[in-house]
């Protein structure tokens, strides 16, 4: 690998890392700052998952370029995360509805929810 392409790769990995870190952080800021549970649910499940996905891409790039490993591992993690994130969110939302967690309007969810 030439010095040029190595340089390019480093830039690419760095960019991916920074972007992913931004998304990850954004997800957590959303978790901390948004007004009610149902809105908070969006941050981690979307932004953070994306962020970690980006991290993994960076990792794939980094290690694959070094020729050490055909990074199936990261792929597996990404798959796991992308399959599980929506289900976690779904179940958490169900739980919140069951516990009648209040939404931002202040009124608890009065409608019949699936738990009833």
């Amino acid at each position: 690998m030439s010095a040029m392409s190595a340089m390019l790769l480093e830039i690419l990995v760095s960019l991916f890392l920074l972007a992913s870190a931004f998304f990850t952080l954004a997800g957590s800021i959303g978790l901390a700052r948004l007004p009610d549970f149902y809105t908070r649910l969006h941050g981690p499940t979307k932004a953070t998952t994306l962020g970690v996905g980006g991290m993994l891409v960076a990792s794939v790039l980094y290690f694959s370029a070094r020729g050490e490993w055909l990074s199936l591992n990261e792929l597996l993690i990404t798959m796991f995360l992308f399959i599980t994130a929506p289900i976690s969110a779904y179940l958490l939302a169900q739980a919140a509805l069951h516990l009648r967690v209040r939404d931002v309007s202040g009124g608890a969810d009065k409608s019949k929810h699936p738990g009833q």
Binding site: S14, L17, T24, L25, T48, V52, N73, I77, L81, S88
Partner: protein
């Protein structure tokens, strides 16, 4: 450059984890806390990937993989407990 990027990313993720802690402490409801725990798990994966690149080592991947699996199962169990009480029925 990579080193700088890793440092910044590390700082960002550390900050993210602190924010998760904040949500864990404040709640106010149980689902908030479970969600914070779930997010913490995912952030930990990010942290481990970063560490892997930083130490130039592959041994952290299995840990990340299992944290991904276990984080999911943890969230599922807690939610199921809230919903149904009996986790295995």
């Amino acid at each position: 450059m990579l080193a700088a990027a890793i440092t910044i990313a590390l700082a960002a993720i550390s900050l993210a984890m602190l924010l998760n802690l904040w949500r864990l402490l404040c709640g106010p409801d149980l689902p908030d806390r479970i969600l914070a725990l779930d997010t913490l798990y995912i952030n930990t994966i990010a942290l481990l990937v970063l560490l892997g690149i930083h130490f130039d080592s592959l041994v952290y991947f299995e840990v990340s993989l299992l944290i991904a699996m276990m984080g999911f199962i943890g969230t599922v169990v807690f939610s199921k407990y809230v919903l149904r009480g009996d986790v295995i029925e």
